[in-house]
Symmetry: D3
């Protein structure tokens, strides 16, 4: 791995990956719309508004791969979604095409499928059912990636990240938790496999009660090692059971699915 | 878990679960049509003929959940089937509805799918093909449970129990064995999950040559820990191979499928 | 066709089939729990309570086939369901087995799948989701038929009848209508095919907006000729649109699915 | 039908639908970004840039349904796509939500699935594989519609229009042709059905060599009456065969799939 | 269509196609291992043993397409199968590759799937289950065709012919009958479509009780016009019903499936 | 296990199995077209050209099972393929039928499915897409086995062997490697299970990035214990990455799929 870009490097996920990927690439090019002060050996920083194509083109020039965590990562106004996630994702792929970058790790989200029932087992072929404008924008990103693969041969991992935190903190996360270490392993596998294609991968650790089946991505060789099981007791203590007809229990997206429209608030 | 009813408590399965669930519920209300003499701390006993609605209503009153192992558990005459398994299961669900009980563990049976070939891998979507009047009655119970879920929101685990004994004693059981400990774990999981729905679960331990795939019930988080593998050598010694066209080898239900009609005997 | 039994001959469907099948069988043995006064040439009458095995055995003796329309045909109390549809169907199949009758036309019902969404296209492999105790009992009948086929080789047509009337009278029936003439044709086809197996057939005419796909039963060769289309205008006038979130529009079973429990009423 | 909006009314499709729908609605509110001079009885005109939310809100106020043909209808620059198809579609759905409009006819496109092979038979469950930025934007629109249905109950017909012209003019259109009359019928059916849900419908006439299967939308009751067959001879004369490995023959999207990136040109 | 080869031209099918295709090709090159005496305008004759590669190469030189009906067309000894159907089919494809022929109509057979149950509805994705050495050899031919398509781009129609005769003469043929006229239409369609791929097509007329679904080949545009229905009455008279457990009724291949091994006889 | 034949005993696989199966059978009858000099206790040797039926019949007489590794095991001329793999496999099955042998381990190959994409997850139902004449011949063998099972009840394991060597030596083998020890375990399981049927099994160890799913063969109880993971680092060093559009990366068959026709070379 030579020169790899990490967008959204100032965010929670970005910070965790900086730590977890130390020593992996010759140069990890951090990028964000907000400045990052402390730059370590093997890292560099390029400020970039993903909504501005010239900046993105500048950022992507000379890189060998892109880990695209940037843009909005929760529900917000359509204007913000549009700038960071619609224009932003288009800019990343179009810059890759113009500059010959061949492989992108795209941080999609479980909120692309958030309106599926929790009793449904999903795999890469399950239809998208977004639970938010944010989820719609991630679905858009997946379609854009598929288009750039089918027409221009740019490969992507479409990683529908569950809940990537130090540990699961509520009952839903017992199903959706992705450890930072497992995510870092996945990034490495995505860049180690000789042929990636355009492949949906659910970003989830080896939790006993997961809703997602990664069998179609087995060829990538990723085998998550962590499990939410060890945190079960703690979570059970701190997060009380809901009534079994509470709408927040019906859908995989949890409160994203039961929240109203962002712009009403 | 507060007050949980255990029907069929005097049967083999019921006895095993009494032991395995010690300390789990505040009160385990044992029930059977035959008397149970020795009642332990944390247990109580209510005699009940499942075919009599008034008794069932009395039994269910004030409970928080039902583990329904009662009724006929092998092939028998249609009259017995009707009383214990048709009327009995209806009475349990109707009592639950009238009294507001929200979750039922229903001991269904592999004999609901006993006429499938042993070379077929089944999952929760496989069509029912009962191998006996007993199997038909368990299928009826599953339909009744589905109806009470769709219309009244009563959740059920429809557990198609394989062969629940201390250990597997013939070649077929190497595929179908369910350890008592794994069954007890499953009961606990069924009452621990925040949303259960109406979910088919094959009651089988982690045997290497199982016919059944529980992937659709993965969200429940049950991971059986025992395996028939350790008993393989013993079984091979004691249970000779049959000719490969012996009808008893063709169907998952084994001799249930090849036996004639009960009432002829 | 020599001697064919028609159960439920005094009911609406039974009356219509008596007319439509004139001349088809050497003898059409009418049967019902209520008396039928006018018996035509080529018909005979045997009174029979389906809940009484001795009577059923008497009825079935000497016949070459059974058209089983009898039992309860709408939601009612569990006791009535049990007598007519649980015991009754068992008695029909068990009598057929004892007396060597090889083929049964079983009038099942769309209410076996009434809790499926109207936007779902069903076929013979769709799981049962009954919308009523009546629907549960018809599902039981289908399982019983499957059991007698798998074990004893008795063939059945499991005909999930939609709405069999002279013409469709509400918007739902534009999807579910089965003309009497198409039903009679189906009966003839079921007895003309050389091998029937145990086959689910949706009993619906060639309506433009049907929910059901009979492709798996194509080998029977039934091609319904009538269509609800000609009645569309009349129905639209007489049956006003409901609000699009009205629960009665959600499910295929219509008001069966949204009605409460029978015995509460 | 009372007051229905027709966006994109100045376009080719819009003009055809104005003619075909005469007399269907009390008022057909024509809308486009370019002016329309001749307004007939039963029509009115409201100029509207779909990229401007205030205008869209003004347009939608007081209407009973929306036929959304507006926005870009061929490949063009991302900026144009973004304004007309990303912002535009969001604005239509968000205005509908705020103002209580309950049903939208959304003109999606076959270019949402244009990278599927011509030898593949598609139905409503086939994954999206867009062949252009335009196709990506229509996929975005379908996701947005699904989101507004799942969260807010707004129903949509997602009509993947093939080639809607007076007649097919090349060999590909023998598969994809949609007559104007069949499209108008579809619009009427979409507003006549009591429950629509959020339903994918391939907009194609009854052509003998179509690639698309509308079985999942059968409940809508649309039965296209025209066929490309009568034009076959003419087309064969005027459009020569290509070599069988010509890339334009491989994909359903035809030259959309084999064209390079718009902004290069 | 310029110069097209017809192998097996002296056989029953070959003779029928000579008549039905008059005027279709500039030159129809008849070929068979037995001599054909009467050669019409627009025809020529080349004797050829398909088991001899040099002869096949000579035959194929200069042609624009091949209709391959030759080889064994019923069960026979493995030696005959090997010469005509294993070597023969390899020789046809290898000659086509060496000489640049791009499209082959391969007469496969329903006996490739003859061990499927008559109650199963088959389509192009159904697994092969040959009912005879002959059926195995036709399956081999389909695999060979698939190989030459995947590696060398030679397109094939793999036509699983049912029963191609002037009219159906037994009950099984009511399901499997293919009229000569429909077969000729299919040949024309196979050579008219611009892209064929390697496509399984069941060769069956529009019979009401067919077992086969050609939906995946719909893009070819073939719509058979004849039906066995008009012959039903005659067939019913002349071909008596069998007992419903007669093995010949169980399988689609009919007596091919129930016959023993050829070389025993 | 009494007297078991091992064809192809002089080949690489044959040698490895001789070692791995020491002590398993009463007598392991080694067979090959080339002589084997060193014969150990518990072994015997019979020279046999699989293309000669009389020899095969002699070989098979008196045996209890056949492990059929013989014939061509890589791409070669059609004449060689025909003798060893077409005639040879027919001879093995026909001899088994004549002499009453009931179970055959057939060494099929991953090259039967070599033209599937590496991004596709295959299972026993995936259609065959051979990548070579060799692959076509193994597909022929699978069809022959299926035929002898359906008609004569001879059971087979159709083992699609990946890459069976001491260790994986290139990147592709990290997916396809089968350890010799796992293969020997599989042979034992195939002969230990009471009912085998005719079952496709992918012969692959427990590699993290395998393309193949053996769930449908789970009833056999085989659980491979080795994994390519330990060899990953070595392989990565010695086998450089290819460009991601290199054709050899597209297909599961690797260079078999991208090689031209054997007889051209």
């Amino acid at each position: 791995m030579k020169r790899i870009i990490l967008t959204g490097a100032a965010g929670i996920l970005g910070k965790a990956m900086r730590k977890a990927l130390v020593g992996w690439a010759d140069e990890l090019v951090l990028s964000d719309i907000v400045p990052i002060e402390e730059i370590n050996d093997g890292e560099s920083f390029v400020a970039c508004d993903l909504g501005d194509f010239a900046s993105v083109l500048e950022l992507v020039r000379g890189c060998d791969g892109i880990i695209h965590l940037g843009g909005q990562s929760v529900e917000c106004s359509f204007d913000n979604i549009m700038n960071g996630n619609l224009k932003g994702t288009y800019h990343i792929y179009e810059a890759a095409r113009q500059l010959g970058v061949k492989r992108i790790f795209f941080a999609s989200s479980n909120h692309v499928v958030g309106f599926h029932s929790r009793e449904d087992r999903l795999d890469a072929n399950s239809p998208m059912r977004p639970d938010s404008l944010y989820g719609v924008s991630k679905g858009f990103g997946e379609l854009m990636a598929q288009y750039y693969f089918d027409k221009f041969g740019i490969e992507s991992a479409l990683v529908r990240i569950g809940s990537c935190f130090a540990k699961p903190i509520d009952r839903r996360m017992l199903s959706t938790w992705l450890s930072e270490s497992d995510l870092a392993d996945l990034i490495k596998k995505v860049y180690a496999v000789n042929r990636l294609g355009c492949t949906v991968i659910y970003g989830v650790s080896n939790n006993p009660n997961s809703w997602w089946d990664n069998r179609h991505a087995n060829f990538v060789g990723w085998q998550p090692k962590d499990s939410s099981e060890q945190f079960e007791e703690d979570v059970f203590k701190n997060d009380p059971l809901l009534a079994n007809d509470n709408p927040a229990l019906l859908y995989q997206g949890g409160f994203f699915a039961t929240a109203g429209h962002f712009e009403d608030k």
